[in-house]
Structure formats: structure tokens, C-alpha cells
């Protein structure tokens, strides 16, 4: 266990930080449990036997949203990559992304959701400018109904368990 992960697991107060033992053993919120055929399941296969980006999901399980960074030109990528789109080197490193950001734009899915997400309707989605980063990420926004969201609202990154061993990330509105 890295010092960073240990530090995260001993956070003093508040809700359990994402990636903590508590968060990890908590039931996956709002997530249907039935197994769907792979091609009807939007969530990716995460193992090293399936993707060269499995480190992304490993780090997500540790509570860290991360991406690749080019060792040659320092460019930040999103999503993480296996080759730099600018200089085309495959010499990339992993780097953690900021854990907080600001909503640039948002909407909500009130109907017409894809298979497996129908039960979660209505849900908010948005583009979030990560603090001190050139990256603007798209994602689900939990923690507040869409009617209470505004452009400029603050959010934090929240890795979460799907309940079947896989993890993904979303944003949570914070005050």
C-alpha cells in the first residue's frame, strides 16, 4: 500500500473517502446487479487481460482518478492513452488528476436512457473543468437533483464500485 493510499484511508472525518475500505464494502448505489451480455453493457472491461489501460482502473480502486501524461512533451491526455497524440511516443506515465472542479455545462437525462441506466432516470450529466488543469471532463453528477444545479457549481471526483468488481468515476456536487 502506498503512503498516499494509506493517507487517504485515514482521513479524519466526513463521509468515507472514495476508495476507503468503508466505501469499497458499501453496496454499490443505484446499480442494477444483473449480468448483461458484454456488448449491451456500457461499462468497459477493466482487467489487464482486456485493456492496456488497466492501471487506470487499478488506481480508481485506490480512490485516484488519473490519466496518462507524455514523458516527452508533458501533455496531459484524456482519456488515458497508450500513445501520445501529439508526438506519438508510447513512453507515457500515469498522473493523478485534481479531485475537484467546476461545472462548465450540464443537463439531465429525463427519459430515453440506454439499457441498464433506465432505473437511474432522472440523472444529471455535465462537463467539469478540473481545478488547475487544462482538462474538462464529462460525467454523471450525483448528490443534487438537476433542478438545483447551476453552471459554476463545485463538484468533487468520486470513484465508485459497480458491484461486480469493476469501478468507474462520477462527480458529486459539493457546497
Amino acid at each position: 500500500m502506498s503512503a498516499e493510499v494509506r493517507a487517504r484511508r485515514t482521513a479524519p472525518s466526513g463521509p468515507p473517502p472514495a476508495g476507503s475500505d468503508e466505501a469499497r464494502t458499501a453496496p454499490a448505489p443505484d446499480r442494477p446487479k444483473e449480468k448483461r451480455p458484454f456488448l449491451l453493457d456500457f461499462f468497459p472491461l477493466e482487467g489487464a487481460d482486456q485493456t492496456r489501460l488497466s492501471r487506470f482502473y487499478d488506481r480508481l480502486r485506490e480512490g485516484r482518478l488519473s490519466t496518462t501524461r507524455c514523458r516527452k512533451d508533458d501533455a496531459w491526455h484524456w482519456p488515458p492513452r497508450t500513445a501520445c497524440p501529439t508526438c506519438h511516443t508510447e513512453d507515457l506515465d500515469w498522473a493523478d488528476l485534481p479531485e475537484t472542479g467546476t461545472i462548465y455545462a450540464f443537463s439531465a437525462v429525463l427519459g430515453g436512457a440506454p439499457l441498464g441506466l433506465e432505473a437511474e432516470v432522472p440523472f444529471a450529466v455535465g462537463l467539469v473543468d478540473l481545478d488547475g488543469s487544462p482538462l474538462r471532463l464529462f460525467g454523471r453528477i450525483e448528490g443534487r437533483a438537476w433542478t438545483g444545479l447551476h453552471v459554476g457549481d463545485r463538484v468533487r471526483v468520486e470513484p465508485y464500485a459497480l458491484g461486480d468488481g469493476r469501478w468507474f468515476y462520477r462527480f458529486r456536487a459539493v457546497d
Binding site: 482519456p79 443537463s107 439531465a108 440506454p114 437511474e120 450529466v125 462537463l127 454523471r140 462520477r170
Partner: protein, 394 residues
């Protein structure tokens, strides 16, 4: 453009809507309609077939659709046969490929056909198919489909420029009014005033139901030939004078400001430049109103008005008959529905019929010379533009 001239010489469309019919049956239907519309066309003349189809694997559980379409239409292409897939621009891609093939001398007589079957007994499965257009492993799991993306475009446009729901509804009301003149439109018999549109339910805030095009079944076909063959088929050829495309990004993280569609500006500049005209020479345009906000941003990106003025352009009727130019006289995607692979072909069919003066007077553009067709695809990340000229023998 230089080189061998290429022209549209005929067109056919099926009724668009929620159709009790299958993908192959619609290919048969549009083939039958095409041969009825073009008595001079013989099946053996057609040397090449380009099939625009966005997601037959998802919607119809069918791959390898080019030979399927050929068989359904009674064609045996012997030079080029292929499918073109570019999501919502799959149809225009078929036309562009047919144009390139004829201009190069590889093909002489090509059919570009678009077919899409989108309404399924399980609409969540259909919505899943729509989600696959996005960056599936990264944007897909968040529930990204077209409505929330274009809703964010509308939100930013409202925030930055003060665009209003009434201005959005003006686009929809215009295009639905044109669709009331088009018996093949999904909403041919449905009336939508601005007031009625503003009372429809919110689908993805701030967009309401009437701001969104529909899931639609339909097919369309056009015939393109080399210049020396034109007279065999028509007295009103419509010449391909320019094409342009621009691919900007794919993952939503790279969508930029949302309100500046520079990819469209680039694609239109390329297409108009090849035709040696300016956007202000265009008499009518079939542009991609998958959502009302799309048409508004497109007015701006095409240079018809300044950034931020697209809402007023719509509300002031500058895209209507009697305005600066006529935008979406066919009824648009909003009024006709949006069968992904068929849409771009149906737009070209409208261009052919406008120049041939085969449309009802309620939507006939008076004496047009130049037409522009635009499709975006996905999250407005790719833009495809074609420029046509009518009223000329060569």
C-alpha cells in the same frame, strides 16, 4: 470543382416514421420508388452502389448490408459496392463516395441509398445503440447520448448570448410547418405552433420534446452519373460543385466551448471554395437540425449571421421563405424525422426536387441556383458539407 462533372439525376424517398416494416423491406421499397421515379433507369446501368447505414448491426442485427441492399433493390453492382458509416452523416458519406468514384472515372452510374430502422420493441436497446455513437468506454457509461450533449450546447448558448426557448421553438415551428407540405415527413399531419412547442415536456433541460428530432425508420436514394450520361436520365441535373468535411474531436472532453462549431466553418469554407461561391450566394440549405439549437449554431458557423445572433436569425424568419435564404424546406430532421443513414440522402433528394420544381408551392424556393447540404455527426464533432448547382445543362 475540376475534372469530370457529376450530377444528381433522380431521387426517391419512402415515408419516414414509425414504420411496421424491416430494414430489407425498406430497401426494396425505396428501390421500387426509385425505378418508378426514373423510367429511363435500367438496373443494369447501375455499376456502383453506396449504402449509407449508421447502425444496422444494432438496430437490425445485420452486417454486410451493401450486398443486402443491392439484392433488395434488384441491382448487381460490378464496379464499386460498399457501405458508408459516419453515424448521422452516413447518407451524405454515400453521396460523397459516389461523387468521388464517378469523378475519378471508376464509376459511371452510381446509386447512393440510405436505410435505417430505428424503432424497436425495446427502446432502451435503441437508446443503447445511440449511445454507441459516443466514446463508448469513457462517455457511454455516464449515460451520454445526443439529447444531453445538445442540451449543454443550448445551455451555454443561452448563458453566453441570451438565446431563448422561444427562439429555439421558432426553428422547430418553421421546420414542422414545412413538414406539413411533405407527405413523406414523420410529422406531416401534426401541427406545432411556438406556443404548443413551449408546452411540451422537457426531455433534456433546457430542451423540450419539440426541440429534438425523432427515432425514425426510413429510406432514401439518389442516382449520380458522369456528365456525358446526364441527358439519358433527366432535363434537370443538379451538379455537385463542392464538398468539404472536418473532423474535430471525439471524446466529449474535447468539445471546446460547445457554442463555436469551427469544424462546420472549415467544412463549409472548403465546399464553398471548391464551388467558387460564398454562403451568401446560397438560395436554400438543408442543414442538420437534429436539435433546434443545432440549426441556430449552424447559422452562425456558416457565416449567415454573427456568433450569438442565431436565435434572432431564427425568430426573425431569416431562414424562412422570403428571408435571407430558405433553410430546411423539406421539413428538416425535426419535421421529417431522422433515420440516420437515410437523412443525408433525403436532403439531397429535396435538393433534386427543388431544382426540378417537383415540390408543393408552399415550400418551393423561387428560381434557386445554389443549394448547400450539411450534416453533423455524433456530438457535432464531424461536419460534412456539399454544394449543389441546378438549372444548368452542364
Amino acid at each position: 470543382m475540376s475534372g469530370r462533372g457529376v450530377a444528381l439525376v433522380g431521387a426517391a424517398t419512402t415515408v419516414f416514421g414509425v414504420r411496421p416494416t424491416t430494414w430489407p423491406e425498406m430497401a426494396q421499397e425505396v428501390g421500387a420508388a426509385l425505378f418508378r421515379a426514373m423510367p429511363a433507369l435500367r438496373a443494369e446501368d447501375v455499376d456502383s452502389l453506396f449504402v449509407g447505414a449508421a447502425e444496422p448491426e444494432r438496430f437490425a442485427f445485420q452486417s454486410h448490408v451493401a450486398p443486402l441492399a443491392a439484392e433488395q433493390m434488384g441491382l448487381r453492382p460490378h464496379r464499386v459496392i460498399q457501405r458508408t458509416e459516419l453515424a448521422c452523416a452516413s447518407g451524405q458519406s454515400a453521396i460523397r463516395s459516389a461523387y468521388a468514384s464517378i469523378a475519378s472515372g471508376l464509376s459511371d452510374v452510381a446509386v447512393a441509398v440510405g436505410v435505417e430502422k430505428m424503432n424497436l420493441p425495446s427502446m432502451p436497446e435503441a437508446n443503447t445503440a445511440m449511445g454507441c455513437v459516443m466514446d463508448r468506454p469513457w462517455d457511454g457509461p455516464h449515460g451520454a447520448t445526443a439529447p444531453p450533449f445538445f442540451a449543454m450546447v443550448a445551455q451555454r448558448h443561452m448563458l453566453e448570448y441570451g438565446t431563448t426557448p422561444e427562439q429555439l421553438a421558432a426553428v422547430s415551428a418553421k421546420n414542422h410547418r414545412f413538414a406539413n407540405t411533405n407527405p413523406h415527413a414523420q410529422f406531416y399531419s401534426k401541427q406545432f405552433s411556438v406556443e404548443k412547442l413551449l408546452g411540451l415536456p422537457v426531455v433534456a433541460p433546457p430542451l423540450r420534446l419539440g426541440d429534438c428530432s425523432s427515432m425514425t425508420d426510413g429510406a432514401a436514394a439518389v442516382v449520380l452519373v458522369g456528365e456525358e450520361l446526364v441527358r439519358r436520365y433527366t432535363d434537370s441535373p443538379v451538379w455537385v460543385r463542392g464538398t468539404g468535411q472536418y473532423s474535430d474531436f471525439h471524446n466529449l472532453a474535447h468539445a471546446g466551448s460547445l457554442t463555436q462549431w469551427t469544424g462546420l466553418t472549415h467544412a463549409a469554407r472548403e465546399a464553398l471554395g471548391r464551388a467558387h461561391i460564398s454562403i451568401h450566394d446560397v438560395d436554400f440549405a438543408e442543414i442538420h437540425d437534429c436539435f433546434t439549437i443545432s440549426e441556430i449554431v449552424e447559422y452562425e458557423a456558416l457565416g449567415l449571421c454573427a456568433p450569438g445572433e442565431g436565435g434572432a436569425f431564427a425568430a426573425d424568419g431569416r431562414g424562412d421563405l422570403g428571408g435571407d435564404l430558405v433553410v430546411n424546406p423539406r421539413g428538416g430532421l425535426l419535421g421529417c424525422g431522422h433515420p440516420l443513414g437515410a437523412t443525408g440522402i433525403a436532403q439531397a433528394a429535396e435538393v433534386y426536387r427543388q431544382f426540378a420544381k417537383e415540390v408543393p408551392t408552399a415550400r418551393q424556393v423561387p428560381d434557386p441556383e445554389w443549394a448547400l447540404v450539411h450534416n453533423l455527426s455524433g456530438s457535432a464533432n464531424v461536419h460534412s458539407v456539399m454544394v449543389y448547382q441546378g438549372g444548368r445543362a452542364s
